[in-house]
Symmetry: C2
Subunit: 202 residues, 2 copies
């Protein structure tokens, strides 16, 4: 396996572009080489298989879409109320919107995972890890609502991201005065998260 | 355009299979012909273009995934409380789980819509129509919660369906004792829908 880390990242990012633009079926080593502008055969020196490439795309998107630790630290200085939960969700929405291509590639990965058992196992583990981390973070930060709150919030925000990043017009103005997804985030948090802290529901 | 309605439906259903199994990029007239077991060239007699085929797949899935009017009528005899909202959501989950292939094809359509402006317009209209219908149904039936409740519930259930139908292991047991998506539907409804009827929030 070739080891130039910058080239590896460039190839993985090229894979993300191909996934989002062409769909999973378009993701071949040859398409990745073309997208990255490198000689044919380069990708096959960096990835042992297509599943290996998909796993590395997953890891890369994890880091591309990760929160900025400084932003998180600043937010954690605020009172631990519902408004702070909304602020975290705004940050998540902003990251996914900024890296629209990356998020669409994640959705392609989900669909590809229904067809490839190896990817299904590794991707389930990775998404489950994110959800458990979110639950643990919420708990440790002393934010209002228990594990049930976080799980339902996770699902509603997943639904919002899927809708907003694929068919944004569906949600536009469906509630009077709510024409931007940020306003919908506020409504979601108001409906799901209790105002003050409640004991974790386990 | 050829007009045999049964053959048209068989071709559209073959398109759904191809979409779910191969992804949007695999959806060609030739693949549809092969899946339906008809001579090459048949699909091109039934659809004016690939966008036309995608529109007809959308319409067909709408009817495949539609609720059974008798089930709805029976449910509407019950008291208009939160448990009834949960019963409607259970019915929705059961339909999507039963027609797993159809639901995966809908997710493929979302991603394909990000690449094809014509599909994007028609599919946005169709999904928006479903959401408006759900809001109107909730209102007319006198179910608890206003439009905001229905919208947030719609997003949480969309998130649940996406997760459950692509990576079911992510949610399995994430809340203690909740190992089936049906139990998660109950938690979602409990968190989002008020117990009794409240005035519509507009």
């Amino acid at each position: 396996m070739a080891g130039n880390p910058q080239r590896r990242t460039a190839l993985v990012d090229a894979g993300v572009e191909v996934l989002a633009r062409e769909g999973a079926r378009g993701l071949t080593f040859r398409a990745v080489d073309a997208e990255a502008g490198v000689p044919v055969g380069t990708a096959s020196n960096y990835f042992t298989s297509r599943d290996d490439l998909l796993r590395q795309i997953d890891a890369r998107l994890h880091s591309r879409l990760a929160p900025d630790p400084e932003v998180i630290a600043e937010l954690l200085d605020r009172p631990k109320d519902r408004a702070l939960v909304a602020a975290f969700m705004h940050d998540l929405l902003a990251r996914a919107t900024r890296d629209h291509t990356g998020y669409l590639a994640l959705l392609e990965m989900r669909l590809e995972a229904t067809r490839r058992p190896e990817l299904h196992a590794s991707y389930t583990k990775s998404v489950r890890g994110d959800l458990e981390e979110a639950i643990e973070f919420h708990r440790a930060a002393g934010l209002p609502g228990g594990d049930e709150t976080v799980t339902v919030l996770y699902l509603a925000v997943l639904g919002l991201l899927v809708e907003h990043l694929t068919l944004p017009g569906v949600l536009d103005g469906v509630l009077p005065g709510v024409s931007v997804p940020e306003a919908l985030v506020d409504r979601i948090v108001t409906v799901i998260v209790p105002e003050g802290r409640v004991p974790p529901s386990g």
